[in-house]
């Protein structure tokens, strides 16, 4: 187990390195940020001076080595647009995204899994069919469009929820979050629902498929032959078995939502990291892009590692092998 952890973390380091090179080369290929950043009327001298200042006159490999050297000293660079350290910039935006994703995942799982279980338990009922129809809508209708409809309905026509932005930030246990205030919740609930719909549809379909399949297995029949109640069969026997694919997809979805909640954040002008990265790409703010993508890689690696550990807890046949 411990050996397995060490091995996975070592792999993670390699992945992060490889990713940083790819990102660096990719960003380099996009173009020279100075052209975007400075006043088009600036003289050639100022231009050359700035290029030298950011080290952009160096060959790519030297720029990369300089970057690595800075990273080793804990310096991820300074944003060319905001002129503050990138780490501070990203971490000032991260809590907003985290709370949005947290609420949306909670909604997706809290509604999606029970609804999927029911739809799989009574597949021929009208309620099950309604649930399945909703799940299809959930992941086939574009997110931005639903987002705009939500704003139209609840913010413009009914006027009961704010149309965008993050609300008042309160403090719970030293963590600053808008989830600590009522105003914060009123701001977060609509984008969170918007962000959760796709995942909810996915959860419903996965859970239902697993449930339908599991109810036909011999171990469920055997449990019924022992006189177990349906409740016991579903919650003690089936749920544990079908949770393995659910956890897999949940992990993948959690990662991609954290990294790319961009659309929802744009529609609801939510000041999260998704919006930051889009702005940075438009303005060719290299240090922000590189730092952010490295952070995303680390997030994915951590989530996948957690998923693997959860597997081993859920399914005794999974053995985590370290070393070899």
């Amino acid at each position: 187990m411990f050996g397995y952890l060490i091995q996975r973390l070592a792999q993670a380091v390699v992945v992060v390195f490889a990713m940083s090179i790819i990102v660096f080369v990719g960003v380099y290929a996009i173009g020279n940020p100075i052209d975007v950043l400075i006043d088009p009327g600036a003289t050639q001298e100022i231009r050359a001076k700035l290029i030298a200042q950011y080290g952009l006159d160096q060959p790519l490999w030297r720029q990369y080595l300089t970057f690595l050297g800075n990273v080793a000293r804990g310096d991820m660079g300074t944003s060319m647009v905001y002129n503050i350290p990138v780490v501070d910039l990203v971490f000032s935006r991260l809590p907003a995204t985290l709370e949005l994703v947290f609420v949306s995942v909670l909604i997706a799982v809290g509604i999606g899994i029970p609804a999927g279980l029911y739809a799989g338990y009574r597949p021929d009922s009208y309620a099950a069919k309604a649930i399945m129809a909703l799940s299809v809508l959930g992941f086939s209708v574009p997110t931005f469009w639903i987002g705009m409809l939500l704003i139209m309905t609840f913010a413009v026509n009914l006027g009961i929820l704010p149309s965008g932005g993050r609300g008042d930030v309160g403090s719970v246990l030293g963590i600053h979050t808008s989830l600590a205030t009522l105003d914060g919740w009123s701001h977060v609930i609509m984008p969170a629902i918007n962000l959760s719909l796709f995942k909810m549809g996915l959860m419903i379909r996965l859970t239902r498929a697993g449930m339908v399949e599991a109810m036909r297995t011999d171990y469920v029949k055997f449990a019924r032959a022992q006189g177990l109640t349906d409740r016991q069969i579903v919650f003690s026997h089936v749920l544990r078995n079908i949770s393995i694919p659910i956890v897999t997809v949940f992990g993948l979805e959690l990662g991609s939502t954290l990294a790319f909640a961009v659309v929802t954040e744009s529609v609801f002008t939510w000041p999260g990291v998704g919006k930051l990265i889009i702005d940075s790409i438009l303005q060719l703010d290299r240090p922000v892009m590189v730092t952010y993508l490295v952070l995303v890689v680390i997030l994915f690696v951590l989530i996948n590692l957690t998923v693997d550990l959860v597997y081993a807890r859920l399914d005794p046949r999974v053995r985590l092998k370290g070393g070899a």
């Binding site: 297995t217 055997f222 449990a223 032959a225 022992q226 006189g227 003690s236 026997h237 399914d315």
Partner: protein, 322 residues
């Protein structure tokens, strides 16, 4: 002595897209306490569906349309779904064919068995585990306390089937339906389990319905035999009677097609044709198209001939025919 299990005129139908299929057609039999009845038939003869129908475990599109299932005198068919559930496992239990599939792979053996104990009896978890351990001991599992902590994949097939049998025995049911429980096992393990089951029936007085396609198995195990063909019991009697003096041509054909060492070098006779599709059975006797003794009379459904040892045939075999 009253029968532990009495099945009267049990009929189970499946409403398929191509029309209704009667998988079990007016099946009647009874099993006395401590006796083992072999329910023999080919695939698709309705023997497994009979087993599931007894426990009321038929899922849509199937449903039991007629008949009574009396366990210790209680008609299971007249009970509410919840009352029926309380009978399952407590008074009538079941063991399945494939031991690899009948245990939940992600739960420890002990947890699964303890759940089966506690659903019918309000006992502590520790007491339930203790009963599970004793049940494993009964079916001859060595170091049962350790086995309880194991997951199913850590046990061999034979061991798992013993666990399943032990689970069925937890509440000392009057009746156990065993649906080909040794088919998936090695012959040597099969022998051990058969001996174990025979001993359990004798010691506990449990009545057992042993569903199988294997005549060799029932010949050494069962007290009585019922032969099923196309949803009906076509011949029934004691094992001795049925095997040594079969009356139905189908039973005779089955016995004849088992290789023996008494006639080496002889080409094995087989029953011509194949099992009929239940969706379009011929009028009258379903075995008619394959039967060497069939006549025009067979176009009418035959009635039972004989009392305790009976066959459903217009032209039952006599001593002279064998």
């Amino acid at each position: 002595m009253s029968a532990a299990l009495e099945v009267r005129n049990l009929t189970t139908r499946f409403d398929t897209r191509r029309g209704p299929v009667t998988a079990v057609n007016g099946v009647s039999f009874s099993v006395q306490p401590g006796r083992i009845m072999g329910l023999v038939g080919e695939s698709g003869s309705g023997k497994s569906v009979t087993g599931f129908s007894i426990l009321g475990l038929i899922d849509a599109p199937g449903r039991i349309t007629d008949g009574e299932v009396l366990v210790d005198g209680t008609d299971l068919r007249s009970l509410s779904p919840d009352a029926l559930r309380r009978m399952r496992g407590k008074h009538v239990a079941m063991v399945f064919q494939d031991p690899m599939m009948t245990l939940n792979p992600v739960l420890r053996v002990g947890d699964q068995m303890a759940m089966a104990v506690r659903v019918h009896d309000r006992v502590s978890k520790a007491a339930a585990w203790d009963r599970a351990r004793k049940a494993l001991e009964t079916v001859g599992i060595p170091s049962p306390a350790e086995r309880l902590k194991a997951y199913p994949h850590q046990l061999s097939g034979g061991m798992r089937q013993r666990v399943a049998i032990a689970t069925a025995l937890l509440h000392g049911p009057s009746v156990i339906i065993a649906d080909e429980p040794t088919t998936a096992l090695d012959v040597s393990i099969q022998g051990q389990i058969l001996a174990e089951v025979r001993r359990l029936a004798d010691e506990t007085g449990t009545a057992i319905v042993w569903v199988t396609h294997d005549l060799a198995v029932v010949s050494s195990l069962a007290d009585d035999i019922s032969v099923m063909y196309a949803g009906r019991i076509v011949e029934s009697g004691t094992t001795e009677e049925v095997l040594s003096a079969p009356r139905h041509p189908y039973t005779h054909g089955l016995i004849d097609s088992v290789p023996t060492r008494h006639a080496p070098g002889r080409e094995l006779p087989q029953i011509p044709g194949s099992t009929p599709q239940l969706i379009n059975l011929p009028e009258g006797c379903a075995f008619r198209p394959r039967c060497p003794r069939a006549t025009a009379a067979c176009a009418v459904q035959p009635s039972k001939s004989g009392e305790t040892h009976f066959a459903l045939c217009h032209h039952p075999l006599t001593e002279a025919d064998r």
